[in-house]
Every structure is written in structure tokens, then in C-alpha cells.
Amino acid sequence: MNFLNWLVLVLGAASATNAAGGAIRVVEDMRGLDRAALAADFLSAGAGSSGGGSGHTNNWAVLVCTSRFWFNYRHIANTLSMYRTVKRLGIPDSNIILMLADDVACNPRNHFPATVYNNAGRYLDLYGSNIEVDYRGYEVTVENFIRVLTGRHEEHVPRSKRLLTDDRSNILIFMTGHGGKEFLKFQDAEEIGSHDIADAIAQMFEKKRYNEIFFMIDTCQAASLYKQIYSPNVLAAASSLTGQSSYSHHHDMEIGTAVIDRWTYSNLETLEKLERQDKNTLANLFKTYDSSVILSDPGIRTDLFPRGIENALVTDFFGGVQTTELTLEMYKTSEKQKVLPADVKVEFDGRLSSAQKDTLLEKPRYKLKVVLPQTYLINVPFVLCFGLLLTGVVVAGSV
């Protein structure tokens, strides 16, 4: 670890200490200290304790673009801009669920293959060389989105498609597409309602799948989509209020479509300037919104977020930064083996799961038979039986 990183860690720890009001402290001498108390301090530092620290230990992002077709290029660009931002600020690919409803980078209509730009000057290729799209094309459905959030997947779904969060995860959920009052359109075929989103988040709360959620949404009448959320520790920001449309920012004449939306562009203008250890708060981010430029009034919902947007750092949700505690001796963990959550199946494991037992008794599904003219189709038993039936009918009828 080089000097700069070490310095940052110490400073970060120090500032976190200041912010947390002494809840976490840099400990150099472990002798004579009550380790259990220290551990309890550390573990209880999240979830609603006095001011400051959010108490999260890992960051996840769920980035969803719900629009299909070439003319919705800007929605893909919105989502990929957010993807780039969170990757740049430290969230690894394994903690990002990226859902893109259509392929625009390798679309035959794309004049610049394997690229997605969010600006007409084409300074920055968002697609890049290291991109992992978890759900693409027809897989981006309301059902899959809710399964990702709630963690209720079908069997065999690979790890990269699961949101493996716990109760100390901060999740950034970014959705963009076409929407209306209390609904968001998925791929021109179905819709998700604001109640569905609220209930999914409520399920996440009950299953302790998040510490805090920042729900960002860039569609028309976006604020109506977060209106129904009723779970705690959820902060929501939307590109426009109910009754207002959201607009695209500018076009690229060679690509032929609009390349970015106004609210996302406004967010990026601020986010692009941030670094990993930035101390800017979300309140600062929201202050940069200018309705006359965005052409709609962004909506913010803070009533479910007791910590307050002045205390929430941007990197609490966009970055993979976490506060650390320096210790000189080892900290012993529990002897018991860590048990995976029940809904995460171990991959490549041939052990019989519950749904498999019936397949063993199934008769073979595929039957490729040779087409060969048969000669003896109307067999003797049939002729006998049928004859018997007819004679029986005639005899009985004549009685």
C-alpha cells in the first residue's frame, strides 16, 4: 500500500471519527481495552445512531435502462454514465447489476460500433473495454427487476445476476426510461407501478437487504414513482415532478439521436468532478440542480431518510469507500462457519435440489424416430373389438 493510500486511510478514519462523534476511533494500543465493547461500537455505528456515519460496509448499484429501440439511445447512455461513475468511484463490477434493455453499442444502426457516447463531442466512450452487462435484451423485465431487488430468484441463476446485499449495504438504484404517473414502462410491453417498487423495497427491508437506498429515477413524471415508498432509510431523487416531463439534453447528428437526458447530465456535471474520497454531501449535489436548465423541477424525497441529506456523502452511495479501523492485533471472529443466505445456491454443485427430484422420473422428452412406412396398422384385436361392438349394437337395437 503506498504512502498516499495510507495517508488517506488515516485521514479518512480521522474525519470519520470527527463526523461520528467518537463512535469509531483509531486504536493503536489494544492492550487493556475491552474488545467486545469496541466491536459492539463498530457494529452499532450504523442504522440510526447519532448523526454522521451511515454505517454501511459495502456498496451496491442496480442500474436499469428500461427502454428498447434505437431512438432511446439516450436512456442507455444515461445508465452507462451512471455505470462509469460508480465504477470510477470504487464499486466493483461484482457489486453492480447493470440491466440494459437493448443493445445500442453493437446495433447495426450505430455509426460507431462498440461505443456509446453521452455527448456530441464524443469525448468519452462509455462502453469501453471492461463492461459487464448482467441483464440484457429481453431479460430486462419487471419480473426480473423485482427478483433482483427482493433476491427471490429461480434456481440456477448465476451469482453475477443476483443482488447479494446484506443489512449493511448501501444500494444505489438508478432507473431510466419512459414513464408516466405512477408507472414506468419496461420495453414497450409492460409496466411497473409505484406500488410495486414500494412493495419490493419493503420486502428488502423485511429481509434486511439494505442499510440505505438512494433511489434515482430519470423519466417523465418521475416523482410519482417514489411517492408510494414506505420503508425507512430510503432517499429518492427524481428528474421531474408529477405532471412534468423530463427532457433530453442534446443530439448528436451523426449518431442520429439524443445522447443524454438533462437531469442525468446535470448530475454528471457534478459527479464527474468528484474523486473517491470526496466529502461532498448529497445536499450539495441537490443544490446544483437548476430547474431552468433541466427544464423540469427535480423532486427529492427525504422524509424516509432520518440521517439527513446534509450528512449523507455522495460517496456513501456512488462510491465503494468505507471507513476502516486500524488495529495492531488480530481480531478473532466467531468459530462457527459462515452460513450463506438460503436463497443463494452454490453453483456447480451437483447435489440434488428440491426441484430436481421429479426430473429423474420423467420420461424422455426428446424422441427422434425414423420415418418408416408401417404395414400392419389396423391390428386384429381392433378389428375384433370393433366388430363385436357393431354386432352388439345391431343385436341390441333389433331387440
Binding site: 418408416l372 396398422l377 391390428n379 381392433f382 349394437v393
Partner: protein, 451 residues
Amino acid sequence: MEVLAVLGVVIRLALVQRTDFARTLDQRVEVSTPVTSFKRMQEGVFLWRNNINPYEGGVFHQAPLLLALFHVLDDRMIPYLFILLDILVAKMLVEIAKHRALDLKNQTWRPFFPSKEEKEALLAHESAESKTVTKESGVKKSDPTIPTESALVPLFVGVVYLLNPLSIVTCLARSMLVFNTAAVVTGVYFAVKGRQVYSMFFLALASYVSMYPVMFVLPCSMLIAKSLKVKIWPNIIFEQPFSASPVSFLLFATFTIALLGVSNVLMGSWDFLESTYGVILLVPDLQPNTGLWWYIFIEMFDQFRLFFLLVFQVFVVAFVLPLSLKFREHPLFVVAVFGIIIATFKSYPAVGDVAAYIPFVFMYQELFKYMKNLYIITHLGFSTCILLPLFYNLWIYAGSGNANFFYAITLIVGVAQVLLLGDFIGAMVRREWERGEGYAFRGRRIEVMLK
């Protein structure tokens, strides 16, 4: 009239021999359905002849005995078989109509529960009348309050079937519906004649081919009872119209099980059940037809599918018992009504079903004067005959219309048939009332209301 009947046959023969209509008609959705299509029968025969189970796939849904029949028949003979069946159907319709004509002639207009004095007066009146009644028409000329009705010409019913373009089209397309119609009409014919065993056997055959003719068992058993029983009092309620029913049901069940058993022996397994009756009941193949089922089950979400399937199937058979009870002295009328219900609400209807019930409706021509909507119904019928293929073409071939066009016309077909049902039953209710209770109001102008 005979000329017209022969004309009907000649038209079929000419169209079979001179033109290629058969192939194009077989491919029209209004005429052939997934369970009656001849092209699918050809595919089934081919698969069976070549070591592949025809019931395994999603193409062939027809009864095994029919499969065996078309396996042994020569290709050139098949159109003539269908024409022969049509002729037989017409012949039997004529016989049924003869019986009906006799029935109509013997209908009298008198109260159902006369008091003693009224009874004597009526008997005296009747003996006086019998001298004035004319032989041919059976019309009671002397009583001006009884409507003058022309007698039913039995051959007309046969001509109606033969010359009906819908039945010509069905026969040309070699749709299996002809077998269905033939079996049902034969069953009714034998029921009218009182031959219980034969009647139930043919009805078992009909419901073996397609499931819905099971509804005809009850009215046919009533027809059998009617022909076997002696009249107690002319046109008074037959006290035991259901007396033949238990035996009929037993015979029907026996024959059905026997036919299924014979099919099992032929095919070697029970696979065919799921492919034939399962398809009729569960409607997995959603090819458009003239009915109401296909579009609603295309557009339905999976959670509601089973419920609506149950509901739709129940609605077809829901009125079997009530209608049979209400019209127990007119079982042939019940047969006609069931024909209309089946043609409207079965899972895969076609124009052949309409052609099947129209002759039965024409056996009740005396009801036409009580029907209010006959004009509308006929015009709706004509216009849907034109618009159905037109809008189908717009949807599938021209691409300038969508499914809703065709669907709207099927809705109109449904509305027309429901109107016909309502009118038909209403007319019979009205006429029965006039013949019985309304007798007391003879000579007066009154208002008749349904309460």
C-alpha cells in the same frame, strides 16, 4: 322441391369434380378448425403410417376411429364420401321433419287444466270440428282465434340443408364436422323413431368425435320416451318424459366407453385422450375461428386462464337441464336450441355448426311469426359471411388491418346467434302460452308480459 334437393347434390358434385375449391376452402379458418381440418387429418394419417405417434405433436387432434377410416380410404373416394354423408343427413332431416309435421298437425289449442264443464264443451266442439277439418293442411278453419298456419313441408327442411352455402362449403372442405352432424342427426332420427339403442349409439359416436353432442342425450331420451308412450290426453303434459332417460344414459355411457376402449386397442395407448378431448376442453391451439374463445384466450393472462376456461365450458352445458325441463314436451325444439348454443359457444365452432342447426330451426316455422328480430338476424348473418373472410384477409395477408377487425365480426356472429336464441326460445314460450293458458284470453286484446 325435389328438383331443389337434387340441385344441392349436383352443386356439390360439380364443385368437387371441376374446381379446386376443396383445397382453398380447407385452409379457411371459418370453415375448418384445428379439430376438424382435413389437412391435419392427412398429416395424422401420414404420421401414423410412418411409425410416428400422431397424437404426440400439436397438429393432429381428431378421433382415432376417424384416423383409421381415412387410413383405409382411397384418396379419390373421400370427397364422394362427404357428399354421401350430406345426402344421408338430408334424408334423415326429411324423416325427422315428417314426424314434426305430424306433431304440428296434431297440436291442439286448449287449456291445460280445463274444468269439468269446459272439458265437456271442448270435447263436443272437437267432435263437431272433426267434420270440418280438411285433410291436407290440418288447419282448424272454424276457429278464427287460432292462427292459420301452413303445414310443414318435410322436403323443404332437407333442401334447406342441401342448398345452404355454409353446408356446401363444409362438405367441400372435407371438414370432420360433417361426421359430427351426420352422427347427431342420425341419433335424433333414431330417437324420433323410438329406437333407443341405435340413437344412443350414434350420439355416443357423435360425442366421441367432438365432445359437445353429449348435450343431446337428454332431449333424445325425451324423444324416445315420447314415441314410446301412449298419449294420456292430447297435448297435455307428458307425465313421464324422463322415463327413458336412465336407460338412455346407461346405454350412452356404455357405448362411449366401448368406443374409447376400441380406440385404445387401435392406438395401443391412452395418449389420444389428451390430444383430442384435452384440446377441446383446454383450448391450447388458438387458431381464429367464428367463435368467441380464441381471442379471449390469446389475450388472457395465465393466472386467469383456468377460471375462464371453466366458466366458458360451463356456460355451454349450463342450460341442458333447465331447457329440457321447461320444454319437456317439445324435445325436438330442445335439440334445435342446443344446436344453436353449441354453434355459438363451443370451443372451436365453424360455419358447419350453423349449417347443422338451421334445418332444425326451420322445422319450427310456426314460431317465425312470433320472432321479432328475424330480419336483423338474417341480415347480420349475410353481412358476417362477407366480412369474416374479408377482415381475416386484411389482418393476415394485407397487413392493413389488425386482429380486432376479425374479432369484431366474430362478436357480431355471436350477437346474431344470441339474438336468434332469445327470439327462438321466446317465440316458443309465447306460443306455448297461447296454446295453453292464453286460451282463456281468446277473443280479447291483451298485453303479454314476462314476469
